[in-house]
Symmetry: C2
Subunit: 226 residues, 2 copies
DNA sequence: CCAGCATAGTTTGTCGACAATATGGGCTTG
DNA sequence: CAAGCCCATATTGTCGACAAACTATGCTGG
């Protein structure tokens, strides 16, 4: 009885994944009402597991639900989106600090390899914001798990990232930003490799702060309308 | 259509509240398995709403669920409990900063009144750790909501506090700590009243840091065994 | 012509029963 | 006598139907 891997994928889990990806990909647009039986027919499942999944999504803040009145995808205001980045800033800062203290050498090497792959991706598909976003997500994902702080990783990966990604596809990254972001990533990894948690935290916070300011600028320019 | 208050309390919400309070109060002990129909008979409801509530609780990390194998209350290791306080430290620090910037004068006055009431509570029931805990909770609750950062408040009030409270009733506060904590609270509110966000953040972080160290000390002394 | 209300329709909340799967006990076998 | 296997049981996952509540349409009255 060493590896207990019953690993039964329940329909509710399936429904949860389907809905979450549908929301992130933008198939389910924020704001408009979505009926339960519409979702049932779309994802080939019954209302029981679906409702369970809806409850979970609501609890995570991706859906808002009013009794007897249906469920709709949460639509963040511009200020709420900015507030989200304020939270990211401190939480990812902590993650970077703890990652610097706790990541294995192997994990750090992998992380550096990831950045190399990321660089070629940017060079090849110059302007392709999608790959940039995925690479960026991968980077932050590894640091969150590398922190060895289960609750922190859960909050980042389970709550915040999905909300950020949900709005990211609209935020076409500005011209030279991918390269600049990559440089920032590189410096963060350097700090982690040197086991300098304090510096890693500082750099990560500044990195996310830059992203936040970038969004705020776009909002003020009127480029971004939510 | 000014105040849309249908506010229908659904059975699932009821189940959610019942379970959450039962977990926090310690009626449901961490670790041991709890059957669904046991819960149904205990709270007078059917399995449908119950399962929905279970999904929500699981999503929030208070329950851990294995398919076909039942559900059990999460049991934190000592390191996980300490990690929780690391997260609290930064998040409540941010909350204090934003509260200093955004709370209304009225809210600040109420907060000060709360501290006064809290002081008399401590004097009257000296040693009664329960009231201390509730007053402490009230204080942090007000600051979280006062931050005007919806997501931040949701994460603090919805996720972290319940987990902390779940373990708090075992952590009998040490002798002189209530008075010291009250003093720390006072200084935080002072900083908020002066609209000094930076100072408020610093003081709040130090306040929670002290609480964390207090717990770590007890763990090392062997007083606290989870 | 507009405002307010009653009603019909649709959607959600809830319930009970059926099917699938993990746990525990007894048995067989080395 | 111990270890591994098999089966029975109980619990969980899933489904379809009924009841309650909100939304929207049409009507009446001012």
């Amino acid at each position: 009885m060493l590896d207990t891997t019953p690993q039964t994928y329940t329909r509710a889990d399936e429904a949860f994944d389907c809905l979450q990806t549908a929301i992130v990909k933008g198939d389910l647009v924020p704001g408009d009402k979505i009926g339960e039986l519409d979702l049932c027919s779309r994802f080939e499942l019954t209302r029981g597991p679906l409702r369970e999944a809806l409850g979970r999504l609501e609890s995570r803040g991706l859906l808002v639900r009013r009794p007897h009145a249906g469920v709709r995808v949460v639509s963040l205001s511009t200020t709420e989106l900015v507030e989200l980045y304020r939270i990211r800033e401190i939480m990812e800062g902590l993650a970077a600090r703890q990652a610097a203290e706790r990541m294995t050498d192997q994990e750090i090497a992998d992380l550096q390899a990831t950045l190399d792959a990321h660089e070629t991706m940017i060079d090849e598909a110059h302007g392709q914001a999608y790959y940039q976003a995925e690479g960026d997500y991968d980077f932050h994902h590894r640091i969150a798990t590398g922190s060895r702080n289960a609750k922190l990783a859960q909050m980042l990966l389970g709550d915040l990232y999905y909300m950020v990604r949900m709005y990211r596809y609209r935020l076409s990254t500005s011209a030279g930003r991918p390269h600049r972001a990559l440089g920032e990533h590189r410096r963060i990894v350097e700090a982690i490799a040197q086991r300098d948690g304090e510096l890693a935290e500082f750099l990560m916070k500044r990195h996310i702060n830059a992203a936040r300011k970038n969004i705020e600028k776009k909002i003020q320019e009127g480029v971004l309308t939510i």
